[in-house]
């Protein structure tokens, strides 16, 4: 049972280049129907058929959650990654047919909050765009602090500041503008929740600053999708399915398992949700943990692996799958 198995056949209906790095894609259902509604912060997994390779990459939905005639995602070109974003930018065009997963939300707003404080860096703005659309309809109380490299690379800065002039604050790196985080967090009324999405450094900065100021854990939310890292090829034996899979240099263990026709659970494919956790029956070598799901003790113990992002170096790896 793979939780990401519910699929929707779609056709690319728009491709809009926003700036040098970011392009927006719009999808409509190929059968002409409407999409399931979602909640702001949800992502979809896009299936990319690139020759005989299939990539499944998660992207935050940024269209209006409540009027789902179409889904939209914005993708940042990552020339150092494993090629998913390059494939979307360079090879996908209007009219192409693709497959999306049903939306899954691992970064939803806590609607009990009195106030939502959103902190975005770069392409991390996308889940917030859907959340802001959702909150505008429900007259939610929010404040967005959005840090971008330069004016020209600030995706959606103009839309956001035009529509919500009092709630949106933009910071330009090239003008040495920085979020005054301590000041910002200290002044928030009781009942505020903070959400951060952006580069790893920013997420850690916001989390550790909030914790050190006494913010309770339940009021701090973050989303960080790790792209699976490339690494040395290795093999893994799937004990229940009785097959051995070879994992290529630019492939994830999860992708290799799927390629072998074995159904494996997943939701985020980015080391965050815990859904793909798999028991290691035997290993002789090093498990390269890249997720942020497992606890340190679990890692040290070596009897669990998150196949969506983690790898292995050594002789034998036997999994309970």
């Amino acid at each position: 049972m793979s939780a990401g198995a519910e699929k929707i056949a779609v056709t690319v209906s728009e491709k809009v280049v926003l700036n040098d790095l970011v392009t927006r894609f719009q999808f409509k259902r190929t059968d002409g129907g409407s999409f399931p509604a979602f909640s702001g912060g949800a992502h979809t997994v896009i299936e990319m058929k690139d020759g005989d390779m299939t990539r499944l990459n998660p992207y935050s939905l940024m269209s209006n959650p409540l009027t789902p005639e179409f889904y939209e995602v914005s993708i940042r070109r990552d020339s150092e990654g494993r090629g998913g974003s390059m494939f979307m930018h360079d090879q996908v065009n209007v009219g192409d047919e693709m497959v999306l997963s049903y939306p899954v939300n691992l970064f939803s707003l806590d609607l009990r909050a009195r106030k939502q404080l959103l902190i975005a860096g770069g392409i991390g703005i996308t889940p917030f765009i859907a959340q802001i659309k959702q909150m505008s309809l429900m007259s939610g109380n929010f404040e967005l602090h959005y840090s971008v490299r330069t004016k020209s690379l600030g995706s959606y800065v103009d839309d956001l500041t035009d529509q919500h002039p009092n709630n949106v604050h933009i910071y330009y790196d090239d003008q040495d503008q920085q979020i005054e985080l301590e000041h910002l967090l200290s002044g928030q009324p009781l009942g505020t929740h903070v959400y951060v999405c952006g580069p790893k450094g920013m997420i850690n900065w916001v989390r550790s600053t909030a914790e050190s100021l006494g913010w309770p854990e339940s009021s701090i939310h973050f989303e960080e999708f790790l792209a699976p890292q490339s690494g040395k090829p290795f093999s893994a034996t799937l004990a229940k399915s009785n097959v051995t899979v070879d994992v290529g240099e630019h492939e994830s263990l999860l992708e290799a398992i799927e390629r072998a026709g074995v159904d494996a659970p997943y939701l985020c494919r980015g080391g965050a949700c815990g859904q793909c956790e798999t028991r290691v029956i035997e290993h002789d070598g090093d498990i390269k943990h890249h997720d942020h799901w497992l606890e340190d003790e679990e890692r040290a113990c070596g009897d669990k692996i998150m196949p969506c992002v983690s790898r292995f170096e050594g002789k034998t790896l036997v999994l309970d799958r």
Binding site: G187, Q188, P189, L190, L213, P216
Partner: protein, 202 residues
Amino acid sequence: MSNFEFPSSIVSRPVYGTFEARPGHSHLFIADAEGAAAILDFAGSNQSVMATSHIIYIPKDCGDKYVKQLEALNASQLYVGPTYPAAMSRINHVLANAHMGIQIYLSGTEGLMSETRTAAMAAGASLDSIQLEHRGSLSRRMQCVHCKGITEDVITDPYVCSHCGLNLFVRDHYSERLGVFQGVRVDAEDHGNVPDAVELYK
């Protein structure tokens, strides 16, 4: 120390622990009766926290027993009030003006902790910013499920609702939202057939 081991069978009841130091720019302590001792114990090893602390204390039957010692803590604010209703407007004012990063410490009777925890949550505080330490009386704060009236400091089962006068059975069902245990008419089927009251936990 509260030496009473609460029966673990009541899963809906909050877990009472021992105050621990947490980072925060302000600290709010609300206690009744023997709850003052929890503040004194905590302050003994966390003296520096007192400079940013506000203590609200309702002595009840403890009278002056702890007041001098509380004064000696030199908290940034100390308020000693006669009853909870008298302290309520202060508590609500403090909560309404609180900022994220405040730590809340509640100690004393279950009734005091329940009521202030409900007030804190209504003001937006999340459960993980509120610590509870039980001290003193084992009385319960009870709500009559029939008239909805709340009776404080109930120590017998069954008890008489202080609002509608029904004889109520003390249920082990705690409502986190309301901060009360529920009392249900004990002689609903056979009016007048009321068992003898026994002291709770005896």
